[in-house]
Symmetry: C2
Subunit: 234 residues, 2 copies
């Protein structure tokens, strides 16, 4: 309709990196030392380089903040393009969701630290919305995929897994129901091993592991599923 100049535009990748720390879901943020938004906290990321995909870009920039080998899962969230998202500066941003297992303890630079998602400091630009979108994506996928593998250690007890789910979902979870659901869906399986009880005693806890450590949908088509195939007798 209205004639408009067409020209290339700068593009950045950002990451909402989540990890459960001290029973709370936390996001990795760094504090801006320079204008704009000086002093505000921001998501890690940076500009897209020539010949680079967005996924490579976010991995490259994340490497400056954490050991990307610790990333158990990475998926694209959404792309923001509001011309005013950076107060007049023109910059598109594609956000990713990254997950780090609870037992990883990546070293981070001085300007970077973890913040509980339910007690965030003032965030730069539209980063607060992106954190919210990342948490929402994680919470949804916890209920219909095996994405818990990306927050959990290699082996764990049901109690430990329950702490992780509780922190990520933000509400209580029954340990017995959790194991029932995840076992029936064949997301987790017993390792055969057990954990020694604590000083207060108690029955030793069996250890489990996720059957696969890549994303799988375990509850597809809750409703409006295809009709059952005629059960061939015999």
């Amino acid at each position: 309709m209205t004639p408009q100049v067409i020209e290339p535009v700068s593009h950045e990748s950002l990451a909402v990196v989540l990890q459960v720390r001290e029973d709370r879901l936390c996001v990795l943020l760094w504090q801006r030392a320079q204008s704009p938004a000086r002093g505000c906290w921001a998501l890690p990321g940076g500009l897209l380089a020539v010949g680079e995909s967005l996924e490579s870009s976010i991995q490259r920039h994340l490497a400056a903040k954490v050991d990307v080998a610790e990333l158990a899962h990475l998926e694209q969230l959404e792309t923001r393009s509001d011309p005013s998202r950076l107060h007049g500066h023109r910059l598109l941003a594609t956000a990713y969701l990254g997950l780090i297992p609870i037992d990883a303890e990546p070293a981070v630079p001085d300007d970077t630290c973890w913040h509980p998602v339910d007690a965030l400091p003032p965030l730069a630009f539209d980063h607060a919305e992106l954190v919210a979108a990342g948490c929402e994506r994680l919470r949804s996928k916890l209920s219909y995929t095996n994405i818990g593998f990306a927050l959990a250690p290699a082996t764990f007890t049901i109690s430990e897994l329950r702490e992780i789910y509780r922190a990520a979902l933000g509400h209580e979870i029954s340990a017995s129901n959790l194991s029932q659901v995840l076992l029936r869906r064949q997301e987790i399986t017993p390792t055969g091993g057990a954990r020694r009880p604590g000083p207060a005693g108690g029955r030793p806890a069996a250890t489990y592991r996720f059957c696969t450590r890549t994303l799988e949908v375990t509850d597809r088509f809750a409703v409006l599923r295809p009709p059952a195939p005629a059960t061939s007798g015999s």
Copy 2:
């Protein structure tokens, strides 16, 4: 790690526009008259202009192909950034999913027409994957949101709605179960009116409409839901 030149890059918006036509889910495609991918079919879209958001961009480009007022729903799908997605040309693409109600009959240019998604011609670049992603998004959301409103006319009988769901999902749906589910979820409501029976007779069909025509999640948290609040025994 590896030092790389950073510079702006061109960006396009693309749309997977879906409509049920003659009982089949169809996607809007136009045929490329010029190289590259000459003769191949492609998704509508075009380059992002200065000072424009991606959402504005896709609406502007779509306006050249269809009446955007017919679009009942538009949402972002994903952003593709593989440097080789255009055979060496560097161009990012953000894809959108657009839905058009069955009773809209938008005029389209000569180079543009509707193709059933289960019988696609050769598509340019990565457009086939984007069509698949759009269909998958639609099918998933049909089972846990009210997104059917964007494919259905303002009022409809259960039989008509069943045809739409069947075409979109790609499998049979029972009319009685469909109405049961959608009524219980309060997605649809009877209008009070009825449709005259056809020449073969039959009971007049009651007409319904969607309660709201904006996207709402109607089946959130199939599992791992928060504990029931203590019922305050009044």
